[in-house]
């Protein structure tokens, strides 16, 4: 079974599905939805088979396949997955069917074609799988850029208020970042012996100056994508305007390409530069944690608020990546998964609220728990996951990032820990203003607010809630897959965990 070309099939399958859905007649929207859902479930099933086939403790990269593409430049269709890519692929395969189910009626309010909406979601799945599965730097770059196109149309054609502005801003901002990366990709090809193969490139010795410039080219692209402070301002616009399902994928998965890129490309390919730039990256991360959390507190738009909370979470991931300890790095990867589950859930639930109310403004709610108790309860649960309460999966990742960072950089870890207070503030205040307190009389007149979660919506939230709790108590299945990949990355950059310094003066001052 391990010879099966999982990664190429997983990449191509959603694309085929998208074509099928796109050619379905526009007046048969229900059929298009059913086909899209069925197709994404098939992809999920195949991914589960891949997960089971994965050999924990086996090679760092598994499922490798390679086909020639542009031989003259040494470009190949090379796919391979390490543990980090594997967990992200599983996250994508899980989230897409849930998003399709959650978006069942989202496209109907738009004048555009309903089948095309679902086709675009499948195209997006194809590009997202491709970008995590690629093991050829050029192939990665191509997926990195192409990924923008379906998301551009999802936001620009099916989004809410200010969707055109948000879509163009998202596209241009990412494109600019992509150009920096393109320059660096070509530069890497030049200094790396005219190959794009990741394994070959990771063996190359690069001079200090070139390494730093190449690192920076990749880093800027990834920092915009993630996004890190101060490159973050496109995300609240895009997250606020995108349909809730697309926003869940945007923040839950697509942005993780940035942090994944740092781990897969910036650190192993440019280890010296990564160590040299690490203090700056840590500073951006820790500023992002505090700054974005404060901004989240001040938002009056639910979707923008969730976007800002994500920027704060990306700060944690950034800190975890650049602390260079196995706990922090494992925490960062686990954070990528858990944040996908938690913020994905949060975005989807917020979408359900917004769809009912016809507004995303917090001031248009108030006391909604009286009308839709179950929905309010799930919103609260998603909020708890977002503030990393023990018992929910994000606690483990945040704890690992902080404890791993503390052992090497105390000020950064202490400031980042203060972020947990702000996280409680933005979550609880949001919950209070939307679902608690006196019932806003305007809500009782809105027809949608009279319906609590229906069966379809329950099916959407139940798996996410269950996974968040399960991984909150027993994260081992995921950490076992991540650990070897993180250990390998630590070796790439030549860092080891510090030994406990039992307080003897010489050691403590190290």
């Amino acid at each position: 079974m391990s010879d099966f070309p999982f990664l190429s099939v997983l990449t191509v399958a959603p694309l085929v599905g998208a074509l099928v859905v796109a050619v379905l007649p526009r007046r048969r929207p229900e059929l298009a939805k059913q086909v899209a859902l069925g197709w994404s479930l098939l992809v999920l099933a195949l991914s589960v088979v891949m997960w089971v086939t994965w050999q924990t403790g086996g090679d760092r990269f598994q499922f490798r396949e390679s086909y020639p593409w542009i031989p003259n430049w040494g470009v190949n269709f090379t796919f391979a997955a390490d543990g980090i890519a594997l967990v992200m692929l599983m996250l994508i395969a899980l989230l897409v069917p849930l998003v399709i189910l959650a978006s069942w009626h989202d496209a109907e309010s738009s004048k555009r074609s309903v089948p095309v909406y679902f086709a675009l979601l499948l195209v997006l799945e194809c590009t997202m799988i491709g970008v995590f599965a690629a093991a050829d730097v050029f192939l990665f770059y191509v997926f990195f850029e192409v990924m923008l196109v379906p998301m551009y149309f999802l936001i620009g054609s099916y989004g809410g208020h200010q969707r055109q502005y948000a879509a163009v801003k998202f596209f241009l901002y990412s494109l600019v970042g992509g150009l920096f990366m393109l320059a660096a990709v070509i530069g890497l090809w030049v200094v790396g012996g005219k190959t794009f193969d990741w394994v070959a490139l990771s063996q190359v010795d690069i001079s200090t100056g070139a390494e730093r410039w190449l690192f920076l080219g990749f880093f800027i692209a990834f920092a915009i994508k993630a996004p890190f402070f101060p490159f973050h301002t496109w995300l609240p616009d895009a997250g606020g305007a995108a349909p809730a399902g697309a926003a869940a994928l945007l923040v839950g998965v697509l942005d993780k390409v940035g942090t994944f890129g740092l781990l897969r490309y910036c650190l192993p390919l440019f280890p010296d530069a990564a160590r040299w730039f690490a203090p700056w990256a840590l500073a951006l991360g820790v500023i992002g944690i505090i700054y974005a959390a404060l901004l989240a507190i001040g938002q009056n738009d639910l979707k923008r608020l969730v976007s800002y909370t994500s920027i704060a979470h990306f700060g944690f991931i950034g800190v975890g990546i650049f602390a260079f300890t196995s706990q922090a790095a494992t925490g960062a990867v686990l954070y990528m998964v858990n944040h996908g589950l938690a913020t994905g859930l949060l975005f989807l639930v917020v979408g359900m609220l917004v769809a009912r109310r016809g507004s995303a403004l917090i001031s248009d709610f108030g006391g909604a728990g009286k009308l839709v108790p179950l929905l309010a309860g799930v919103l609260f649960f998603a909020g708890l996951a977002s503030l990393a309460l023990p018992g929910t999966a994000p606690f483990i990742s945040e704890f690992l990032v902080l404890i791993g960072t503390f052992s090497v950089n105390k000020p950064v870890a202490v400031i980042a820990t203060l972020g947990i207070i702000l996280a409680a503030a933005y979550v609880l205040w949001m919950v209070q203003r939307t679902t608690q307190g006196t019932l806003n009389p305007a809500l009782t007149e809105v027809e949608g607010m009279k319906r609590d979660l229906n069966l379809r919506e329950k099916v959407v939230v139940a798996p996410l809630v269950a996974l968040i709790v399960l991984l909150g108590f027993y994260p081992k299945p995921v950490t076992d897959v991540i650990n070897p990949a993180v250990q390998a990355t630590m070796q790439d950059i030549g860092k080891t965990d510090p030994a406990p310094s039992a307080g003897t003066p010489q050691e403590a001052s190290r």
């Binding site: 901004l295 503390f406 207070i421 027993y474 307080g503």
Partner: protein, 653 residues
Amino acid sequence: MMEILAKAPVEPVGAVTYGTAEGLLGSVWLLVAIPLVSAAILLLLGRRADRWGHWLGVASVGVAFLLGLTYFFQLRGVENRSVELSLWDFIAVGDLRVDFGLLFDPLAAVFVLLITGVGFLIHLYAVEYMAHDPGRRRFFAYFNLFVAAMLLLVLGNNYVMLFFGWEGVGLASYLLISFWYVRPAAATAGKKAFLMNRVGDAGLLIGIFIMFATLGTTQYDEVFSGVGSLTATTVLLLGLLLLLGAAGKSGQFPLQAWLPDAMEGPTPVSALIHAATMVTAGVYLIARSNPIFSANSTLQLVVVSVGALTLLLGAIIGMAKDDIKRVLAWSTVSQIGYMFLGVGLGGAAYALAIVHLLAHGFFKANMFLGAGSVMHGMKDQVDIRRFGGLAKYMKITWLTFMAGWLAIIGLPPFSGFFSKEPIIVAAFERDDWTAWLFGMAALLGAGLTAFYMTRLFVLTFHGPARWTEEIDHPHESPKLMTIPLILLAVGSIGAGALMVGPVPEWLEATAGLGGGSEAAHETVLSHLAITILSIGVTVIGAGLAWFLFRRGTATEPQPAGVLVTAARKNLYTDAVNETVFEKPGIFLTRALVYLDNRGIDGLVNALAAGVGGGSGRLRRLQTGFVRSYATSILAGALLVVAAFLAVEAGWLV
């Protein structure tokens, strides 16, 4: 008595080892699992469980109590009286190994009995108290969730497990304070409690990080065995951070403001969570971490100071409040101050603090439930100026409350005398002049306690009736409420005398708490003098209150002097929080929102507009999308070529 008051030397404990849980004790995880499963059933079944849900809730805690008793007796036969049970690897990355594991030792055992025993009685009471509330099933789900989390907190065998339970009880506390979430005051109070607790939690977390960075572990046995190898500064820092966490959870200065507001929750919640159990988690944390706290005398001094300051602060504010539950809440703040004083004094006083904690669990739960019973009969009135003369209308409530009142003011032979007075004696035993400082503070606190509790008791049950018009005939509560009251009253009367001997002896097997065998330390006053003094101030305080309030009081706010006004306004602690944290915080977030939109994003848009050739273009870009794409590609290509040239020419290398 004098033997166990001996002060342990300031030195680290030796190696700490725990046995493995075998046989019956191997199922100790059931204590946490049973209430947790019950909570999950109540939440997941929804309205389908409305009819019988509360009985499931009561039964799960009852079963947990019986199990707790069984384990308690099992433990007596075990060598070392401490067993560990490792369930699974919770977090295992690199050198970090966090066990999902439990520790059942004498300290955990007494907490288990308190939580499930008093918890069971309060659950039973709540069946009737919440009978007319449409959300009763949800209430019992949260109540069970609390019990499960609290049991995990005291049963964990490492600091991460403790934190797990710690946050769990915080969640349950939030849910129950804002149980009536349509009331804005309840929603705000819940949020305030959670936020102030998170400040302490951040401290506790950083403390855990220090343990890992210096000792490479968070397991209790390894941390306690390793304390000796830490520098004094590290121990001090570690202890202060744990103390911050403890202060947040236990409503101690400077994080006390949330606890009185927490009275917005239903009264059984105030009794169980905000009086008997959760708020004593800070005391548990310090007692559990005694090898850390005993290893640094500066640290102990800080704990003692926090305790002494808070016990006075709570008592002074408690004298000026008119809301029956708020008086009891400030009283809780004050009484936990005594417990902090005890654990701060160290040595044998650790056990005294735990005895007081257990006694307080009984009499304060008793009085809170009594207050609930009064409110039940008085149409939810909480203003003690609007009570009066209730003794003859609710005899059982009156008598049981009287037991609680006598217990807390500490007249012999009621339990407070046996649990609080030894702490006062211990405070007088310090080596230097601070013996006078802390001893007198504890003594003064006893007088103030007698005053405010007598005022509460007299105004509620005696003197002329000052009821509002709609009340014609106050009634006694049903049996389901009075039976728990009677049982708790029996506990209030007898618990102190029964526990003061055996409990410290029982606790000796707990790691670090066995240091009571040294010779007694000299007190600056003789023991007898202190006993006479403490009974004296109690009688004076109580007598004064009786004299002032025996004929009732005005039903409207009266003009008052500086001190009383300050006490009514919580000694301005809320005002300080508001001006120092809340208002600047709100201003900061608003300023940042403006800055982000105009500053950073303004820069981004200006840059884009500049590239696009003039402002206002960005919005129209979608019409000329292909053109701008082409521009971008051109710019990119130029960049690439430039980069190529630069690399080839070796400028950058």
